[in-house]
């Protein structure tokens, strides 16, 4: 019950923040959509960072490191620090400047004018919605997966049909998803983008803080950093994968397993260099076969897993973080900035914020490989480690609040963004700028946000067993494939309407092809381990260049409008 109480209190604080920020609301559509360009450096950093980090940041990073080891940090975090920082500096400031000068509220408004095309908006709108919706699903499904296990046993008489028997009495995903949606909807509905920015800032501080608190307690329980470094699973001289330690919660001690507990076997042990290594502490790819108990038959079944990361996968993963350049909700956050100087803190501190959140989670994930059963679902690793090593309901409640904070700080921006895009790029664009009063525009946006929240909630319930983290990578891949569009729009005068359309179509077709090949959302690599986003990006970029070069250049007035500085 303590856990539930902390979650309840946290949601109440969020509602109070929403109410507080609604008192700053100026009542105009511009204030609702982009906070009247009034957000300063700190709020911008927190809202941009909170928006780009989802449940992936705490739960996903720990789970991925449990599976693949410390290479997870370089694969996803440190490269994001570099690429995101460069995008904020090279793309974000220019888009903010053009948006403020010409009054853009959405990406599509910018692309329509830059490429002199009405049609590009109608082409982009369904694609952006298609890619944002899975991102929303990640949050709602993820929240359900987090809350049910930590509240198990709270209401045994009411919730009698748990996802798995061990979680009986826990708050079911349909209820937690509904509550999360209603809370986010409330503060976005009344506070608009300013409300979302303030709530984001608070939630970002919460999930950064909770990550560090969890790390501190885990390290204490393992006997310090140095001792914790010896805990990950090891390969012995016979090629067996063993756990050298176990944690006794009652004694509160880390004890040596004598003899070491065998949990798996390296499938090809011809490489004797692997003897006495901890595969989670390096990145050399090693195939290991584990045994996992089938919950229905109770029999042990083999599962094969690759620990480490193939080099080609590591290299081509750099295309994934390019996605932030095309996130429509991030475009909207950029436009909330009071001035260009507000970006300075974000450009400098974003890589550091990533490091603060990801390093502890990646370490916990690699240590977990030496203590937890190998068959545990990766998203459950962080809470299982806390449960094993700390076992304190207060801390579990606070950490759950932190995970929810990471989830909701992305959900709010995405809901708001879809309302903004629909209102401005479809309704207002078709009817004409002056056809609707400002109040009417607000009403349309809010109505659409309610509709999209309801539709997303229903979809999330229908797909509640989907692997949310693989889905996230597909979502990022789609946006990354569209990156050549925004880069060419800002940096290449010769980029034409036909080139832009060809680029979008190439990205869409190649992404859809690989998504189909993956079985609609599974982990998928091309050839020796190339991420599909790299190929989609390449095809999109080549289409943009080739088609632009053989079609009529943009008009001089458009070039003057979008390239005002002397080159």
């Amino acid at each position: 019950m303590n856990v539930l109480l902390i979650i309840f209190l946290y949601l109440l604080v969020l509602l109070a923040l929403g109410w507080g920020s609604s008192r700053l609301f100026r009542g105009t559509s511009k204030d609702f959509f982009v906070a009247s360009h009034s957000i300063g450096p700190f709020l911008l950093l927190m809202s941009v960072f909170g928006t780009t980090m989802t449940a992936f940041a705490l739960v996903g990073s720990t789970g991925k490191s449990f599976e693949r080891g410390i290479g997870t940090y370089g694969l996803m975090a440190s490269i994001s620090g570099l690429v995101h920082m460069a995008i904020f500096f090279l793309i974000g400031i220019r888009l903010w400047s053009l948006g403020k000068r010409h009054g853009y509220l959405t990406q599509i408004q910018f692309f329509r004018e830059r490429f002199e095309s009405r049609g590009i908006g109608y082409l982009l709108f369904p694609i952006l919605v298609l890619l944002v919706v899975p991102y929303l699903l990640i949050g709602i499904i993820g929240a359900g997966k987090v809350i049910e296990p930590v509240t198990a046993g709270a209401f045994p008489a009411i919730f009698v049909n748990p996802t798995i028997p061990a979680w009986a009495g826990g708050v079911p995903p349909w209820l937690s998803g509904l509550v999360i949606c209603l809370v986010v909807l409330t503060y976005v509905f009344i506070g608009g983008s300013r409300g979302a920015a303030i709530a984001n800032a608070f939630q970002t501080l919460v999930f950064m803080g909770m990550g560090m608190v969890a790390f501190y307690f885990v390290v204490q329980s393992l006997g310090g950093l140095e001792q914790a470094g010896k805990v990950p699973m090891r390969i012995n001289e016979k090629g067996d994968v063993v756990q050298d330690y176990r944690y006794e919660p009652e004694a509160g001690e880390l004890l040596a397993n004598v003899p070491p507990k065998i949990i798996g076997k390296v499938t090809d042990f011809s490489n004797s260099n692997l003897t006495d290594t901890h595969p989670h502490l390096a990145r050399e790819a090693v195939q290991v076969e584990f045994k996992k108990k089938n919950p229905k038959t109770k029999e042990l079944e083999p599962i094969e897993r690759e620990i480490g990361i193939p080099f080609i996968t590591f290299v081509t993963y750099l295309f994934i973080p390019l996605s932030v350049g095309m996130f429509p909700h991030l475009f909207q956050h950029w436009l909330t900035a009071k001035n260009a100087r507000a970006f300075k803190l974000t450009v400098i501190a974003h890589p550091l914020c990533i490091m603060i959140v990801w390093v502890p989670c990646v370490l916990i994930g690699s240590w977990a490989s030496g203590l937890l059963p190998p068959g545990i679902p990766p998203p459950a690793v962080l809470s299982a480690m806390l449960d094993l090593l700390v076992g304190d309901p207060l801390l579990t409640g606070l950490l759950t609040a932190g995970v929810l904070a990471a989830i909701m700080s992305s959900l709010d921006s995405q809901f708001l963004c879809l309302g903004t895009v629909f209102t401005n790029d479809i309704v207002v664009y078709r009817a004409g700028k002056d056809a609707h009063s400002d109040q009417k525009k607000l009403q349309i946006a809010r109505t659409f946000i309610v509709v999209i929240v309801a539709a997303t909630y229903l979809l999330a319930m229908a797909l509640k067993n989907a692997n949310v983290f693989d889905l996230a990578i597909w979502c990022f891949s789609g946006f990354a494939a569209l990156f050549p569009l925004v880069f060419a729009a800002l940096y290449w005068r010769r980029a034409t309407r036909a080139g832009a359309i060809a680029s979008i179509v190439a990205a869409l077709i190649s992404w859809a092809y690989f998504f189909h090949k993956s079985g609609y959302g599974g982990e998928y690599f091309v050839g020796p381990g190339i991420v599909p986003a790299a190929i989609c990006f390449f095809l999109s970029a080549v289409s943009m260049v080739l088609v632009s070069l053989i079609t009529k250049p943009p008009t001089q007035s458009t070039i003057d409008r979008f390239f005002p500085t002397r080159s």
Binding site: S78, S97, R101, A282, V347, P351, V359, D560, R566
Partner: protein, 85 residues
């Protein structure tokens, strides 16, 4: 901006630290070498961001956003803004 792009490409190369690939030696500050290297890499990214902010800030884009359309018409007739891309 040439310096920014050069350092960016150098960092892209340094990110692919194949020389640390199979090594789990040298745990320092409680971290294996590969992770510690990438934590310092994050610091270097922040350093590049700081350099960009203090030495390559796009003032011309800031001015462009703050100008009114009327000012701009006059300005654009007499040429283009100062600064470089």
């Amino acid at each position: 901006m040439k310096i920014f792009w050069t350092v960016f490409i150098v960092l892209l190369f340094l990110h692919q630290d194949f020389w640390n690939w199979a090594s789990e030696d040298g745990i320092a500050l409680g971290m294996p070498r590969g992770l510690l290297y990438h934590a310092f890499f994050s610091l270097a990214c922040s350093g590049l961001g700081a350099w960009a902010v203090f030495r390559a800030w796009p003032d011309e884009w800031e001015q462009y956003a703050e100008q009114s359309e009327e000012d701009a018409e006059g300005g654009e007739q007499s040429g283009s803004m100062s600064g470089s891309e």
